[in-house]
Symmetry: C2
Subunit: 487 residues, 2 copies
Amino acid sequence: MLPYKSLIQVDRNTPVTLHIQVCNSFIVLITNGTLQPSDVLPSSRMLAELIGINRNTVKLAYEELISQGWAESVERKGVFVLSGLPIQPKIKLPETNKNSRSQEAFIWTNQFENSVPGDNFQHTVLTIDDGFPDVRLAPIDPLMREYRSLSRKFFGKNFLKYGSSRGSEHLRHSISNYLSNTRGLVVPVEDMLITKGSQMGIYLAAQLLLQPADYIAVGTSNYCFADDTFRYSGANLLRIPVDGNGMDVNYLEDILKHKKIRAVYTIPHHHFPTTVTMSMERRLKLLNLAKEYRFAVIEDDYDFDFHYDNKPYLPLASIDHNHNVIYIGSISKTFAPALRVGFMTGPPAFIEAASSLRQLIDKQGDTLLEEAFAVMYDNGEMERHFRKSLKIYKQRRNLFCQLLKSDFEGIIEFKVPEGGLGVWSNFDQSIDLIKMSENALKKGLYIGNGNFYKNESFSTNALRMGFASMEENEMTAALGILKTILR
Amino acid sequence: MLPYKSLIQVDRNTPVTLHIQVCNSFIVLITNGTLQPSDVLPSSRMLAELIGINRNTVKLAYEELISQGWAESVERKGVFVLSGLPIQPKIKLPETNKNSRSQEAFIWTNQFENSVPGDNFQHTVLTIDDGFPDVRLAPIDPLMREYRSLSRKFFGKNFLKYGSSRGSEHLRHSISNYLSNTRGLVVPVEDMLITKGSQMGIYLAAQLLLQPADYIAVGTSNYCFADDTFRYSGANLLRIPVDGNGMDVNYLEDILKHKKIRAVYTIPHHHFPTTVTMSMERRLKLLNLAKEYRFAVIEDDYDFDFHYDNKPYLPLASIDHNHNVIYIGSISKTFAPALRVGFMTGPPAFIEAASSLRQLIDKQGDTLLEEAFAVMYDNGEMERHFRKSLKIYKQRRNLFCQLLKSDFEGIIEFKVPEGGLGVWSNFDQSIDLIKMSENALKKGLYIGNGNFYKNESFSTNALRMGFASMEENEMTAALGILKTILR
């Protein structure tokens, strides 16, 4: 007899009745070949004793097995596995052998074999991230208050049903107003799509614009998940140098003369990772080139809301009178990264296609959350949050840069950023960032090793160091640890 | 002089200061060519009067324009648009001409030109949907309580930061337990990915499994957004007949003998739309074929939690000892459609690749919400919700079928479904469903017209009629309206 005591285990602390648990266990034994067609099952008395349950429970389990067509009862002989079942030969313990699981039972091409997952920042270790907001400042409570209050209302409950893949119309209104007020960008509500953070905007744009072997121009240094997204579309990346005035559009122009480019991806306001801002001359020239050569400009403006000294230039989208720009923004960056809400605007037909693709990807967003955000815009809560965090981030930037200057002279070179949440820090060549990162972790500080910013044409010994998510005491502690390692 | 009174409008009820608003307006006029290089700007006194603001505000706006490099001040002559600006020739009012916007400024291929958006159900009209849960039953309040309570905790705030693209580990644990308890499906936490509803599982599987011109087998009738997703991957659909015992696997076997198929998409438990359940014989045969011909089985099990009479068969995944099955499920369907949380399991390398692709699509889910769901599983709240709604849905099914039988004899033919949230209703050929749907709406009832279920090989005069989302009085009202239309 099979070792039923170990093969069939029941758990009294689950919602599933015991007899169904026993029945399910037998099905697994039958289908994995441990029990073969025509095998006899143990008597209900014996099994009940073995696994310590009531005999009637076993009887119920057998009845269920029989009614489901797995077994048959033969009078005065017992219960047997059905003889006609098309069962495969016995497999030897496949579940416990981890290796056999990774052998592929079906044929597919793994395009992601060497892909590197993004870091998980949901730990409590002291962290110098690469420029994230401080989630402790996010007004989650007011947001949830609106969420609950909406969910209790007759009309509010409707936002829990299937809705539009474009996202909440209310939130599109609120963001449209906000864009118009803050950056002179007039977007009709129907030309906007609510996304899951700016990453979804990049993905949708890439999928719609790029066919395999198409060219897209990106910065020599660039946001690596954007690069990966374009590569996933099958496109070739053309690297355009980025200097102190942003992307070198003259270099781009030379390429355009002999190569068809489908799109240019750019982060004119605080380029990622180096934080430079594109000059107004280059912005105008880029738009003129886009018009002449009929390519799309994907403008990733994740950072517009953060500026401390001067007012920022208007986005390309605001002065794009020929409609070449697909404009992508995010609330996640200003609120909390794990609350994935962003937006995307562009020509009407393009936004319509993006909504159709989005429908295939995940149908729609969390409309009730989107509605709650819309209320937060309308009642000024978002505005208060922006103002408050901007003031705090400015103080943190000042302190951070002051500490970098006083304690890391000759080791770290940087420019005080006018906006954004990170400092582009060039480390002296003698410093091994990988070792530094490892040593820091041993002392309780998480800091990147710079690999995230490197690509086939960019390998500066540098890091983006985020200052916004640390309070004063955390900042001094973090930089204190770094100092002991580097000195 | 230009009609500045209409060209420059200011809004005192926005967070942006007036002088920035004026400055931004001028930038737009300069970049769209309304103002040309070397043009003179109106005097501050004149403009202040024209648009009704303080003269000093205009002065500030001009200073901003100058500092941003758009204009220059010439002593005793006034402020001029900078002469060296690379401005394009004037465009005639492009913003107001809707048609010019839809002409494409850049080259792209619209694959979604004829795509049909899913219905928006976020209205308050009396509705017979195609089998959705009643969102009024969803325990949103306890969920939000957990969400807020987590967000106030030191460790809880971390879930607002960037995290894993696989989703909350806690929720993966909870769902893993739940799958093990309810359907004997043992899934290691690392082989699970939290998705945005089952649609994202379908999309990820399609993208990873299918290359252009690959074949995927699907039911003759099928969930149309799954069909669209496979087509978007470039795959060809092979239609397999579905009868009262589910997908005809013998038909599939014949095809396999002369055609390579990469994957089979199936909904063995309550096939969509016809609600039939696949027989155990066919399930075993399908798995054997998958093993022999090395194709993947995408098992969409959106409906497992709803069964009223017998216990359902175990999913294919539970008896898939060769690991051919990619198993997709959803919490959205049991809770609230707009709360997009689902899961996907499969071979480890496959789930890892799916997580990498998911990272490019939207980075990650709302981890704090996922944590809150996990707590709801752990503290039994989800279980209570399932039990409660199952009881209510059973009553509603019974009443709905009783009304269908008594009031629509000879018009609607149907079988009482053992589970699920909808009744597959075959209408008499004399009934024009499109007209019916239009007439119903005039009387205040939304009901589909059947087009959603049709495809190039399936065109039955039938509808899925959802009973779960209507309370008793709504149900009698809805069917009452339908009756007056059809009789």
